[in-house]
Structures are given as structure tokens and as C-alpha cells.
Amino acid sequence: MDRLEWSSVELLEREPGLEPLIASGVRCHGGFDADGRYRSPRTSHRMPAIAAWQARLATDGHALLSIPDSLLPPHHPNVAQARLLLLEGVREPIVRALTMISIVEGFGAIIRDVPVPDLASLVREPIEGTALAHLSGGLFEAHARDEAGHKDEGGHKQMWEAARDLALDSPKIPSDILMRMMGGARARTRRERLFPRLDETLEDMLATMVNVLVIEVFARGTFDWGETLLSDPEISARPKEAGAMVGYIRADEAPHVEYLRTALSEVRARTLRTVDGGDGELLEGRIVVDALLHRALEFTTRQRPQEQRNATRTSITSSLEKVADAARVRSLLERFDALETPFSPSEKTGFEAAE
């Protein structure tokens, strides 16, 4: 069997001898090999390690969970809508959207501060040689560094900023961004416990991993959007570089989705001890993970697209009103709405509790 134990030094190791990636003056992580191909940072051991853990899961006869693309809501505004705004000279909402993406990416780094409980005592079966056993041993830290950067190397936060600045020529950043991001009431409603019998730190950790996984999977829509939009020579000042930058970010995300779904699948294949203790008091990992996934997917596919549409709408109208008269605002919004991608969330998430 392939190697299953890795040190955090190995998981965090940077491939030597790469040509560094410089994004509009900022040194970023990752780099180019001798053939000029982009290589994601900290992957030389991380990728084989994840592959080995996945192979073992399969050998043991367990499924690797996956979130179907069909659940994915379209990015809002879509490419055609964003093009319309930019071509009409209404740049602020797109600058805002790209900056918000960079900020959200940066916040991904807080995964390193998610408390990891003593898993060996909370999971009944052994966890040696799993992704689960390596979360606090390099996986979370590598993820955090990818998102926010580490020391003087930028991460996805800086790479999205670079893509924005390349394509839109270092635009002025609207100062109302944080207000818009922090406005939602959702941020302030605390996550309800679904399994009060479970160790709280464990449920919190699993819920966070599930949420991040869902965000990472659905980010595909954002990457496609960003790549297509920013590599369009009609609206982008530096179509090749800006588009490529988004492509690099997309490539870097692969290990995130893979380690998260591997570790969650490992939990699904095990049983969890409850706080009341004893082997009689167990919860199937599958029930816990699926319930958390179901909740996250319901939110992301139903509530969230609507929220996002409303937020984009206010962002657009407030920017439009600064530059156009009422008649022009109305006609632009009509054209904008006509380009809308229809979306109706699917009936089921696929992770409903078995009846």
C-alpha cells in the first residue's frame, strides 16, 4: 500500500526550483516548472498523500462522497450580465464583486484556527493513516496558506486582487465593501447544533469542514465566471494574464476539495462516541455528516442564490444611480434582467436522512 503517514513538514513542503509567479508586482505562491507548466504550492507530498488515503478508503469498501454539479446555482451576475455592465461603463459592481471574492478567499485561512478535538478518543474505529488524522498535522495549515498567503508570498486573496487589477486596470476600490459583506443577518445567527449528544468541538469542526467543502465545490461556478469574463479582450485590459490567474487559483483548489471530501468520507465510514460515553451510545458517522451536508446544501442552493441576487441588485442600483439618470437606470436594469440565467434549485440534495 502507498504511504499513509506524512509529517506536517512534508505536507507543507514547497516544490523546489520553480519559477515564481509574480502577479502585478506581488510574489504569489505556486510557480512554473521547466516546461512552463503551473504547479500549485505545497502539492508535491500533499497530492500523493490524498490519493493514498482515497485508495485506502476504496480498498476498505467505502464510498468517496461527492457533491453533484447539478446542484450548482449559476454565478450571479452571469458573464453576459457582467459584460453588459462593464461595456456600459458601470464598473463598480464588478470591482466590488471581485474584491469580495478576494476577501472571502482570504477568510478561508481561518480554517487553521478551527479547534480539532481528540479524534482518536471520539471515533470508535482507528484513524491512523487517514486524512482525518492529518487535519491538524498540516492539511488545515496548507489550506490556510493557499487561501491567504504565507509570509511574503501571496495566496488566493492576492491572486484575485491581481486578476482584478490586471483586467480592470487597478480600479478604485469602493469603500462600502465591508459594510455590504457584513450587512447580512445570517452572519449573526449562530449555527444550531444538530447533534447535541456529540462532542461540541467535533460537531463544530465537522460543520465547518462541510461548509467549506460546499463553498469550494460551488466556487467552480465563480472560477468559470471569472476566467471567461476577465479573459475577454473586449472588457479586460490584460485578458491573457488575468484569465490565466483565475485558472491558477482554480488549479490550487483541487487539493482542498479532495482532502475535505476524503476526511468527511472517512468519518462517514466510522462511528462516533457521544458525550454520554460508553459503546452503547454511538452515532453513525454517515448520519452526522449527511445531516450536516444536507443543511449546508439546502442553504447554499435555496436561500443563498436569492440573497446573492438581492445583494448584487443593490450593489448595481447604488452604483448606477451615481452615474446615470433614472431613465437610463431603468433601461439598463431591464436589459440586465433579460440576460438572467434561469435557475430552480433541485428538489433533493441527495443527503436527506433515510426514512
Binding site: V26, I103, V104, G106, F107, G108, A109, I110, D113, R145, A148, G149, H150, K151, D152, E153, G154, G155, K157, I173, S175, I177, L178, M179, M181, M182, G183, G184, A185, R186, A187, R188, R190
Partner: protein, 429 residues
């Protein structure tokens, strides 16, 4: 001379106030300079620590303030928040002025209310408690009931406070000028007096305080997790504020919060979210989260009071602060330098590596050696200390206020056994 007498004969008290302030100033100055003079004459080495002198000097100033009140208490309060200028012993002693203020007699208060409203107190209020809920430097707060039955809190400015303030400020400025002429290495007191003069003029204007309150209310419109007392404008003037009486548990009353069944972690989150939204998102904030100004209702709603000191932040400040926190979290030095500069920090030599040293000093006091989103009291103290020791770095005034707010919040959070994580309170991601 009794305090009551002083209040009734303001003109008589002018001469007294001036003399009393001047003698205290002279004696404090002497405490520092005489030993130094003697030491230099005799060629003695530098004393190890001035701690004891600082403490004695601060005590003298505090006594003066409690006797003369008015601006002097305010000055103490201001000094106690400026750990970027004054040594820790000073700051610690002068903090006592927050709780030590004796209230005015009710007759004095009644006279102000009646003069301001132009009516006998009974025509507006069905009840008016003679004992105040709280007394502070410029005003005291009484519980009362309007004739329509609504419960209110009435904040009443002390009589003649404007005159007293004017005299005190003039004295202070004069003393500072003399001091700066005599002392070869003066502490920068004059700018402080100027800043205070500015703040005081604002704080004495209750119409402005009411405007501030409404502006903050607007930030939280439609948000049921926060409450700002509603002001009854028709019974409010330049010198009194009549507002909704709010009840709740003092934010640092751990037992009370627990007894109400509140989760202390949720309380800290809610509190942080309020201040982070004002500072990072709205760019306008109440700069005084001392525990007396924040209540928690049994349903977890956070009530913020006292809008005398509110501050508008420059455009882009929230993003700048966010970038600073991020660069500190990732130890990205070039980003740190950009963020400090963006926030208005300056070095006199233009050498930006000083900023990195500053950040490293702060990080050593974060508790974990890393920045995890909280500006601890230790970190803020360290920042101010570093700036005090190294006059090469200049901090923008509004950053001092923001730093102080986060430090106060961190203190409150720790009292409740939690952490004041600013990044987490942004609720993004």
C-alpha cells in the same frame, strides 16, 4: 471650600481653581525635575525606574481632579486612555476617576432641568428620582417617568459647566506652555489639551450627542440584536437629554448574565459584532465601550449607551484595518508596511522597517505569538508603549481611539472567559 459652595459661586471659584491647578502642576513638575536636577549635579546614575514618582504624581492629579471636577476629571479620563503618551502607573491611577465621582445635589439638577425646559419639572415628569443612576464628569443621569407613563433616563449637564470648562482649559493650556518652556524634554501635553478642548466642546453639546445616537441607531436599523435608547427630542436640549430608560444586565456582570441563561460566548460575539460593524463597516463609531455603557438584555440583545464620544473614520479605514489584520495573520511584511501606511502611520525617518518591528512587538503580546484576529489589551499597550519609547513613529489619533476600543472589548471578553476576535466578528466566509 465645599463643593456645593463652589457650584453656587462660580466667579469666586475661578481664582481658587486657577491657583489650585497651578500649584498642583508646579508640585508635580517638581517631583520629576528636582531629583533629576540633584542627580545631575551630583553625577548620580539614572534611577532604575520612575514608577513610584509616576504613581505619586498621578495621585496628586487625581485628587485635584476629584476636587475641582469639570475638565480636570475629563483630563484624567483622557490621560488614562492615552497609554501612548503616559507611563502605565499614570494610566492605572487615573483610571480611578471613572468611578470616583460624587453626585450633585438634586436641587442643582432640578434647577438645570427647569431652566432648560422652561417649565416646572412636574409639568413634564410625573416622577423624577432624586438619587442619580450615575454621575460622571460633565453630567449625571436620573431615572424619571413622563406624564404619559413612559419610563425615561434624563442626562443632566452640571450647571455652569461651560464656564468651568473654559477656565480649566485655559489654565491647563497656560500650565502646559510654561511647562514646555521649562522642561528640556517635554511630554507633548499641549496637543492633548487641544484635542480635549475639541472633544469637550463636542461633548458639552447634547444636541450633537443626540444626533450621534440617531446616526448609530440608523446603522442598526432593522437589526434586533442591538438596541440604542430612543431619544425624546421634545424634552431634550443643549444641556439635557431625555431618553428611553433601558434596563439590562451590565456586560461585565458574569453572574447576572449566567443567571439569565445567557451563553457568555454568544454575548461576546454579539458585542463584538456591534463594534466591528460600526468601525469596519459604517466608519462611524461610539468610541467609549466602557462596561457602564453596555447592557445585555435577557434575550441577548446588546444595548449601547452614551454617544458623547463618537468618531468618524476616514474613507477606506475599515479596509485598511482589515488589510493590517490580514498581513499580521500571515506575517506578510510588505503587506504590513502597505497597511500601516494606508492607515496613516508615519515614521519621521521614512524607514518602514520600523513598522515591522512594531508589529512583531505587538505579536509577542497576542497570547499565542500569532495574530488570530484579536487585539488584546497587551497588544494595544505594547503598541502605545513602542510609540512612546520610539518617537519616530506617529499613530493617527483615530487609530488610538480604535485601538482603545478593541482593547476595552478584549478586556470585557476576557472577563467573560472569551476572546474578542475582530476577524471572526466580521462574520464573513
Amino acid at each position: 471650600m465645599s463643593l456645593g459652595l463652589l457650584a453656587r459661586f462660580p466667579s469666586l471659584s475661578h481664582a481658587y481653581r486657577t491657583t489650585r491647578a497651578a500649584t498642583t502642576a508646579a508640585s508635580v513638575w517638581g517631583m520629576y525635575k528636582v531629583p533629576e536636577f540633584v542627580r545631575k549635579r551630583l553625577g548620580r546614575p539614572e534611577p532604575k525606574s520612575l514608577g513610584e514618582t509616576h504613581e505619586r504624581a498621578a495621585k496628586k492629579i487625581l485628587d485635584l481632579a476629584l476636587e475641582l471636577r469639570g475638565v480636570n476629571i475629563k483630563m484624567c479620563q483622557v490621560m488614562s486612555t492615552r497609554s501612548d503618551v503616559f507611563p502605565p502607573e499614570f494610566v492605572r491611577t487615573l483610571k480611578l476617576c471613572h468611578d470616583a465621582v460624587p453626585p450633585h445635589e438634586f436641587e442643582v439638577v432640578r434647577a438645570v432641568v427647569e431652566r432648560e425646559l422652561g417649565k416646572p419639572i412636574g409639568e413634564v415628569f410625573a416622577e423624577f428620582d432624586a438619587t442619580p443612576l450615575a454621575a460622571a464628569s460633565l453630567a449625571q443621569v436620573h431615572r424619571a417617568r413622563l406624564r404619559d407613563g413612559r419610563q425615561v433616563a434624563v442626562k443632566v449637564q452640571y450647571p455652569d459647566i461651560e464656564d468651568i470648562v473654559a477656565v480649566d482649559l485655559k489654565n491647563m493650556a497656560r500650565i502646559c506652555r510654561v511647562y514646555e518652556r521649562f522642561d528640556p524634554q517635554p511630554m507633548p501635553l499641549l496637543p492633548l489639551v487641544r484635542e480635549m478642548t475639541e472633544h469637550l466642546a463636542l461633548e458639552l453639546d447634547f444636541v450633537r450627542e443626540v444626533d450621534n445616537a440617531e446616526r448609530i441607531r440608523a446603522i442598526f436599523a432593522g437589526d434586533t440584536t442591538v438596541a440604542i435608547p430612543v431619544v425624546h427630542r421634545e424634552w431634550s436640549t443643549q444641556r439635557i437629554i431625555t431618553m428611553e430608560l433601558v434596563e439590562g444586565i451590565k456586560i461585565t456582570d458574569v453572574e447576572g448574565l449566567r443567571a439569565a441563561g445567557l451563553d457568555l460566548g454568544h454575548v461576546v460575539n454579539a458585542l463584538m459584532s456591534v463594534y466591528v460593524r460600526m468601525i469596519m463597516a459604517a466608519g462611524f463609531f461610539q468610541a467609549d465601550p466602557h462596561p457602564g455603557n453596555v447592557f445585555v438584555r435577557p434575550d441577548g440583545q446588546v444595548v449601547v449607551m452614551d454617544f458623547g464620544l463618537c468618531k468618524e473614520l476616514p474613507d477606506g479605514f475599515g479596509l485598511g484595518l482589515f488589510e493590517l489584520m490580514f498581513s499580521m495573520m500571515t506575517m506578510n511584511e510588505s503587506a504590513m508596511i502597505r497597511a500601516f501606511t494606508e492607515l496613516g502611520f508615519r515614521t519621521k525617518t521614512g524607514d518602514t522597517t520600523t513598522f515591522i518591528e512594531l508589529a512583531k512587538r505587538m505579536l509577542r503580546r497576542s497570547g499565542t505569538g500569532r495574530f488570530e484576529g484579536e487585539f488584546t489589551e497587551g497588544m494595544t499597550d505594547e503598541l502605545f508603549e513602542a510609540v512612546r519609547e520610539n518617537p519616530v513613529v506617529e499613530i493617527p489619533t483615530h487609530f488610538v481611539l480604535v485601538g482603545r476600543v478593541f482593547s476595552l472589548l478584549s478586556g470585557i471578553a476576557h472577563t467573560l472567559g472569551h476572546r474578542a476576535n475582530v476577524l471572526a466578528a466580521m462574520g464573513v466566509g
